[in-house]
Symmetry: C2
Subunit: 395 residues, 2 copies
Amino acid sequence: MAIYQATTSAPVNIACIKYWGKRDTKLILPTNSSLSVTLDQDHLRSTTTSRADPSFKKDTLWLNGKEEVIKEGGRMATCIAELKRLRKELVEDKNPDAPKLSTFALHISSFNNFPTAAGLASSASGFAALVSSIATLYTLPCDASALSLIARQGSGSACRSLFGGYVAWEQGTSPTGEDSYAIQIAPQSHWPDIHALICVVSDDKKGTSSTSGMQRTVETSPLLQHRIKHVVPQRMADISKAILDRDFDTFAKITMADSNQFHAVALDTEPPIFYMNDVSKAIIALIVEYNRVAVLKTSKVKAAYTYDAGPNAVIYTPKENVKEIQKEAFKDVFGIFGAQGVQGAVVDGFNEAVAKPFDIGAVKGLIHTKVGDGPRVLGEEEALLDPDGIPKTLA
Amino acid sequence: MAIYQATTSAPVNIACIKYWGKRDTKLILPTNSSLSVTLDQDHLRSTTTSRADPSFKKDTLWLNGKEEVIKEGGRMATCIAELKRLRKELVEDKNPDAPKLSTFALHISSFNNFPTAAGLASSASGFAALVSSIATLYTLPCDASALSLIARQGSGSACRSLFGGYVAWEQGTSPTGEDSYAIQIAPQSHWPDIHALICVVSDDKKGTSSTSGMQRTVETSPLLQHRIKHVVPQRMADISKAILDRDFDTFAKITMADSNQFHAVALDTEPPIFYMNDVSKAIIALIVEYNRVAVLKTSKVKAAYTYDAGPNAVIYTPKENVKEIQKEAFKDVFGIFGAQGVQGAVVDGFNEAVAKPFDIGAVKGLIHTKVGDGPRVLGEEEALLDPDGIPKTLA
């Protein structure tokens, strides 16, 4: 008997223009467009195997090997139903010979290769992997933008993980959401040497979830409307041009300004929402000082920080600066590489006063990655389901 | 020979609607109106003695016993010159018998009764005491609003310390600044039971000065213009009405929202400005939780936090809640009263999880004060200059 199964992986993305606020919470339609860099799946990825079989009793999902309830009417169920509808309409109704996979239940096993403790949101890569895996299984004749419409209904920012490179999520205007999808501004190959340093910052507090936080901002922040109407549209145009021009200076300045503004509208919320802590702020001070010295020498900045709904920093920088930043910011100041005996500033003119050493452990770790490609279809040997359609035991 | 000398004291004020941004940096004309509560001089005050004498060689200022340079063309010199001009025009030119004090040099001794380390801005009370002391010496026929025009040129928020009670600084529209002065919304006697708890938060970093910080915000924050044009005018009207109605719930909500928004536009600045630290944020979380419980029981909040350009919290609350807040927030959580053996929540329903104990010393001290009156003329026995016009040695 035929086995209908597909395995794909999908990347994490980190936004430069932040998504914060929904105009429709059910369809996940945003109040503003956003733009992100897709990160390399060789380092961070979600992998999903989907199988359709007439013997399966019900749609079942395992996340990191543990079965998760698929809530009726919830986001996961919406994505699965939408993919089944497309299978029927675009494949089975047009080709009577096509197996009726839309009528079979699905077994889905998904795995993130980064620990939850890293504080990286897994919903974007997770929903992107889920959608691309089922779309591959169903042989849907849909491009990535069309699939992004479905992933968006799982988790807004997941729509951007359907592409590699530099990706915009156009907010759209339609009440049905049909024009709220992701497009690629430029592929990874256009500007491949943008690297990212993810600084995992220790935090013992559970912050406000982004889902509830962004709606409180929509409801209570007087500043958000100004951001939406008068700030983001110009920034989207400017940063898209900067990407096409490979203009890191402009790209970095807009990225930092938009991170700041996202956290500003979070603070303007009632009650206020704080995602950055004192360690996050110390990393900003380091990057500001690092850029100040760079501007004196070359009139251009060399790095951009950005923060999502948590204390972790992501630092974008051209490849050539990575070693310098790793040493300056993280070995000397945060001591995260331990006693490896490196001393003194490697950046001439760097004001050491802004780089007061922190306690060991304030930054738990550094992940070095770079811009990467979009979802990948993987071979049978990487499948996460065993021949019986049950998650493989991972050693 | 006659001694021409006057001694006054002036209060600290803490804004509920924040002043942040100048449209004229020389005249100190603000980009938005602001509103504050004047605090009781019995607890916090600046005291100034001014003497005019033909034997004095030059205008000389001692601050806390130490001589300070009066910079030519600087803010101090501007205030003194303006007061001398008014002495001549309004007194000497009209009454030929009046001694020509405007032609004599001044000796000025000023003293703050709170330590610099407390992190409380002394420029507001300091300039208010200076202006009121010289105005008293010069017997100027000027009301407090007229004097506030002069104090404003010393330090913007000083203009609000010329009044007791609840005080607005009207931004004005004239390029000369003639309509940018303080007015009293309500005297202390109108609503005397508003108390203030000043939480002195430890901070080893020197933050951005408010003078340079606010101009960077004017130059770089896209959100500030929206705040100025579309948010502050309504908040000024609403909080003024709340004060006249003694409506603490509305007063508190606007005060907290405006503190948040001031820090939001500081964060929206390039590079971003942070004044609150993790301890400041923990105090906000405590007050938010304290109010959440209060709203469940009475539909009204019981306390309002506000933060100026530093990590210290000021908590406004009606008198009846002071003991409860002192215990809940500061004895149990911050331990600042040491091991006095008080245990357990005194507020039913308070979620202790938000009140994780901090290290002893995170909050260095608590100052309990309340709304107070405006500048006071003091007797000879409180003068800060000795018979020779030199600062008295303070034991």
